[in-house]
């Protein structure tokens, strides 16, 4: 993996490198957070917290391991902390059925972003994704939108590679079920096209 020079400069404490990285990742990180929490205000708060955490821990960051997985793992951990605060049950504690609570979190209430997205052709996808639990949502966003490698996703989520694959499969199956429920006749043809 090529070492990111800005990440190296960040590790050395160069504030200009931090600003460059902020500009580079602004939309991608914001998108990840919006997908996760579905509320722009909360996403903005988490976005700010993520960058402040980056600034605090820049010295501890290992540039050889890549900035991107590190950045997204910070954002992901802060998001999970947020979920734990707003939903007191532990997301890691499994339900009696053996399922994770995080996978089964109910759909988030309608937000402004969702209403805007509804007007677009991809509304159904965004809507279906917003109804997924954060554990499925994060793995789909990291794979399809961030285009991360499976190994990078495993690093961001701190889970083994086979678990990444399992979550991806379950997430896609869950997406499909939700989309089929929304469409007349339960068919999917052409909905992915712009």
């Amino acid at each position: 993996m090529a070492v990111d020079t800005e990440a190296v400069r960040l590790h050395r404490g160069d504030p200009q490198a931090m600003v460059s990285l902020l500009e580079r990742y602004q939309h991608r990180l914001y998108r990840f957070l919006v997908r996760m929490v579905h509320e722009p205000a909360t996403a903005e708060d988490l976005f700010q917290q993520t960058w402040l955490r980056v600034a605090e821990n820049a010295k501890r960051f290992d540039p050889s391991r890549g900035f991107e997985p590190w950045l997204f793992s910070i954002a992901r951990n802060l998001t999970m902390d947020y979920f734990r605060r707003v939903r007191p049950e532990s997301l890691d504690e499994p339900l009696p059925s053996g399922d994770s609570r995080a996978e089964l979190l109910p759909a988030v209430q309608m937000s402004a972003v969702e209403i805007l997205m509804r007007e677009q052709r991809t509304n159904r996808l965004a809507q279906a994704m917003s109804e997924l639990g954060p554990i499925y949502c994060e793995v789909l966003t990291l794979r399809f939108e961030e285009e991360m490698k499976l190994e990078e996703i495993a690093e961001v989520l701190s889970i083994p590679l086979p678990t990444v694959k399992t979550r991806l499969r379950r997430a896609l199956e869950a997406m499909r079920v939700k989309l089929e429920k929304r469409l007349p006749g339960g068919e999917l043809p052409g909905w992915g096209q712009q």
Partner: protein, 163 residues
């Protein structure tokens, strides 16, 4: 038997489809899937839907980071960087002042003894008083260091206000 085997292959292919959509199959599994899709129109049609799902996910619109938020985050980061720099500068200043204080304390007394060698007898300063004099010089040196710290701190604050 052949029918049962075909059913297993269909099921296996169906299980592989979401992973293939996510590009998470290994080379052998990919080959196996392609071979089955080439000869099974039902599975092939279903896989097309999975591929569309994958394509749709890749084309989801990206919400843009709001400009106001970016300004806020940039300002917070800069404030944090400046606060850190100030902390570092304060630590350095304290270290230098401690060094200055001890150096003056240690250097003043021998210098004074050297300079006032002649006057010492006249003043009748004896070694009995050395301990008290040393304490006096120490206190004076540290007061000077504290005054210097105050002046430098005030100057630093005023420079930051002007900046």
């Amino acid at each position: 038997m052949k029918k049962g085997s075909d059913m297993n292959q269909h099921e296996k292919t169906r299980e592989q489809m979401p992973l293939a959509t996510a590009g998470a199959l290994d080379a052998n599994e990919e080959r196996e899937l392609s071979a089955h899709l080439a000869e099974c129109s039902d599975c092939s049609a279903e896989f097309e839907q999975w591929r569309e799902l994958g394509a749709g996910l890749r084309r989801m619109p990206t919400p843009q980071a709001p400009i106001a938020m970016m300004e806020r985050v940039r300002a917070s980061l800069m404030a944090q960087v400046m606060a850190r720099a100030e902390q570092r500068s304060n630590r350095n200043m304290i270290a230098w002042l401690v060094l200055f204080g001890w150096t003056t304390t240690l250097a003043t007394w021998p210098i004074l003894r050297l300079i006032s060698h002649g006057a010492e007898a006249w003043l009748n300063v004896s070694f009995v008083h050395t301990y008290h004099i040393l304490i006096g010089f120490t206190v004076l040196s540290w007061l000077a260091a504290a005054a210097a710290a105050g002046v430098l701190g005030a100057r630093h604050r005023s420079e930051r206000r002007l900046a």
